[in-house]
Symmetry: C2
Subunit: 301 residues, 2 copies
């Protein structure tokens, strides 16, 4: 199932996407629960939604494209992995030779969350904005010190996160927060796909298309740390709650895309598409207001 | 004024602390607003609370110590500064010579938030837990690209944050998240002191007492980045919202405390005291359950 949150004048509402010959339709679930994360955490609600999908006449439902989508869940925390895909190595070289022992983990703050229909405004001081297309795990059941074997049972579903960064700010400190946490720098969606439709999260093709050119194309089979390991690992250190998002890192751009790369600018659009999950297209727009500049010296003068 | 959030069976409630000859008393504010952060953001509510304090007979109020305190606010994000205090340098050496150009900023996730009466449970895998006593800014008014001159007008008040870290996890990756984000690793409080009682945030003495020994003692006059600069700076990159917490970094431990340092363990207590703000004592306790161990190799085997 594909679960979404859509925007209504009265507030955001949960819904499930119903396939039909005429295109995707929208079945409102606000009579079941106010929030998608509650469905992910509850087997009986999931069964109720499945039954509703099966008994509904899709032809009577509104088209999915008639509504604006919000981020499918509102995570209490967004944890992201740095380097997690192995690069291509020549024959005879061990591809695991440069694997780090542990994943590098960073946080995106709540103000970064954006829906699939939201444009990302490039902040005035962000001079080197870049995209990263990633498989994002949405936690279904609370995870605290779970074993690797049990880890996947805590997954509520999968979605797509574009880990937008300003490389200029990211490079200025040891910690990446200011490069990662501008408003709207975490477009998420368009939906959460339940795990029954993603039988093997280590067998998904992650692709990014920019200006009609495929710039990233790599399978999750080449990740260093599996979804199961990541959940196990994070849950040793902190408690993962329903709706939390764990983004599993980005594959490197293809060599020709690295050479052709230029920072994202007003009017650009980036599509992340992942097999079995879907695709997320994000538009980038100019900032509306100029930055107020200042340096540390000014305040100490 | 000192604003607190206290725990009641029916849920958390806001209150203001009223000084009296017999000790601090508690004036409930739940008739005014459900949350302290709403008071900080609203001049008319602040005036209403001030009037209530002045017209109340403190003798009729319950003692502050009769209630359990929660964190005074529930921040949408907790941003923290790394290195922000200058060390002592010999005569003739410029103390600003090693100043970084920009603050190093990292995030503590929502699960780290703890109240002043909560003990911190040391996670099973955390072998090198340490404290950092810090002045924490609580945002009052939304701040988006504010000038340095205007920055302090966005401060709702000041409180104390103990930026608890597990140095072992912190050292394992380039990014510090796993060392900083265990459950309860951000004790906050005991109250938010409104800015009228903190006329100069660059003239506060920050001290930490562990086992009866002062291990940190340094004035905020020695910070590299002032409160005004930090708010200005962060607000260029992201939007700060009412209730958000920005912790301004920790002074280094005194040389003898560095030598005597050992990781925090079951039964330890750490008190952070800051002039004009108050003091926050945090107890550390053993974990209740053992860790489920695992290595990346296990899952790829």
């Amino acid at each position: 199932m594909r679960l979404v949150t859509y925007r209504e004048a009265s507030g955001d509402r949960p819904a499930v996407v119903v396939s039909s010959p005429g295109g995707d339709r929208l079945l409102d679930l606000s009579a079941v629960t106010p929030r998608v994360e509650q469905i992910l955490a509850d087997e009986s609600l999931l069964a109720e939604v499945r039954a509703a999908v099966e008994t509904t006449d899709a032809a009577t439902l509104p088209a999915l494209e008639s509504v604006a989508l919000a981020a499918p869940v509102t995570p209490g925390k967004i944890l992201c992995l740095g380097y997690n895909y192995r690069g291509h190595v020549p024959d005879g070289v061990d591809p695991t030779a440069n694997d780090p022992e542990w994943p590098d983990v960073f946080v995106k703050t709540s103000n970064t969350l954006a829906g699939p229909d939201d444009a990302v405004a490039i902040p005035p001081g962000a001079t080197d904005v870049d995209y990263e297309g990633e498989v994002a795990i949405v936690i279904g059941r609370r995870a605290q010190r779970v074993s690797i074997d049990d880890a996947l049972s805590h997954v509520g579903g999968y979605t797509i996160l574009n880990d937008v960064s300003d490389r200029a700010w990211q490079r200025r400190q040891s910690q990446w927060a200011l490069g990662k946490c501008s408003d709207g720098f975490a477009p998420l969606g368009p939906w959460v796909v339940t795990p029954d439709e993603v039988p093997d999260p280590q067998d998904l093709l992650v692709e990014v298309v920019r200006d009609g050119v495929v710039t990233v194309s790599q399978s999750t089979s080449t990740t260093i740390f599996s979804v199961a390991f990541v959940i196990h690992h994070l849950s040793q250190v902190l408690t993962l709650e329903p709706g939390d998002v764990v983004s599993t890192g980005t594959p490197q751009k293809l060599p020709e895309a690295q050479e052709a790369h230029r920072p994202l600018a007003d009017g650009d659009a980036v599509t992340v598409r992942i097999s079995r999950i879907g695709e997320l297209t994000t538009r980038f727009v100019s900032p509306l207001t100029p930055s107020t500049t200042g340096t540390p010296q000014e305040v100490h003068a």
